[in-house]
Symmetry: C2
Subunit: 249 residues, 2 copies
Amino acid sequence: MSMLSPIPVREIGLKHLRQACSSCSLRELCLPLGLSPDEMHAVDALVSQGKPIKRGEALYRAGEPFRSLFAVRLGFFKTSVVSEDGREQVTGFHMTGDLIGMDAVSTDFHTCDSIALEDSEVCELPFADMEELARKIPSLQHHFYKVMSREIVRDHGVMLLLGNMKAEERIAAFLLNLSQRFALRGYSSSSFHLRMTREEIGSYLGLKLETVSRTLSKFQDQGFIKVQNRLIELIDQDALRHLVSNCPG
Amino acid sequence: MSMLSPIPVREIGLKHLRQACSSCSLRELCLPLGLSPDEMHAVDALVSQGKPIKRGEALYRAGEPFRSLFAVRLGFFKTSVVSEDGREQVTGFHMTGDLIGMDAVSTDFHTCDSIALEDSEVCELPFADMEELARKIPSLQHHFYKVMSREIVRDHGVMLLLGNMKAEERIAAFLLNLSQRFALRGYSSSSFHLRMTREEIGSYLGLKLETVSRTLSKFQDQGFIKVQNRLIELIDQDALRHLVSNCPG
DNA sequence: GCGAGCTGTTGAGCCAGATCAAGGCAAAAC
DNA sequence: GTTTTGCCTTGATCTGGCTCAACAGCTCGC
């Protein structure tokens, strides 16, 4: 809760705080623009809202059968894959409005774990039903193609980061990316709370937690940011941007 | 041409060696199984076959408007993204039967370059038309979701490799992956020709070309493989597999 | 057939980031 | 309110892969 919160709560059932996509302020993040009232209603009928996930709990785990995509309504998730020999790679951090689970379409089983990093709430989009509905609503069909494509593009960006960038550049890029995503959701872009540990940041960026810690301290010494545990304040975003795009030497 | 070649050539037009998906031996790689003859015919009507791309030429480049996905019919491609400051990251190598260009759906512009590493041929799948057809053919709609999802899973695998593995493990994984993909297409899994330079391998794996070269030499010294320029022979696949899954220490 | 580039190999030395180690702090548990 | 536990920071040292450099072998154009 805070700047983003204004999701009007409308009670429909007893068990659920059931709440329609049509009245959700995150609509434009999860769904295509320009749905007619009828179409919107059809979507509402399929999506179940407001499933709570406690901090530390898994929304799903690798190997579980796939049924639904999930939209993060509130909170923060990490997704990660684990190799046979037990090494974890965080593949993404996901916040309000993000759609997750697309990797599971390929095999009908989830291929990664999705863990809540704070108390969260998700909406469930049964994929088979959505696919059927998408056949009647071209923009919905296209939307899902787009969402998956966007994930591919994002992954390519991470590959670029992991394959080419130095520790400082990675961290700077990471902070700027978070900042931008918070801004897009109406939160402050210059001051935010990290939901993940240094180790999780490191796993995502291909670094050890000590390197993450040291680099943040260094940025603080240089006056680029202020770090206080998980509270980050960006003081000089331009300096960070400069680091990301000018480092190659 | 060689073991995979038996695509019967059937002339339809004068300009094109037009050839139907319905009679293409790669069908099961590009298209869903179980299409009816009518459905197959509808697909044939949309897909234009046999566009040749010379070695070194671009199939498309980042920034170009998106119109179609492409199926590699013959040959070998690399795709790569370039950062603002000019660093290249190879995001994938693509061979016969692979579908490429999915990243472009998100913005309607291509986000990466696709370069032929040998003389190649592609089929063009106009995406808007395919989407429309997919509304009438559920399995086709699902197929494209699956293909994109598979790309996401693959990318997560690369992220794991780039984030966690050592040089030797990366190279071993790379060789095994190529081997497996050649096998799937009816080529030898133990002896193949690399279509890419050491530098391109390095870019894909987040290593410098010297490291790639050294590691291949080392594997040869250890008797795991035989290297003769771009010709690779896998002598002891188990040793390579062992490297990939047992290295963490 | 011959020279000019690419492409690949190998060596020597160096450095960014990993590893190992020791504490400190803050929130949760008891 | 104290202990526990997990998370973070910082220092010292080590090393895998990078950098720089020299050269060898192919391939392609002429």
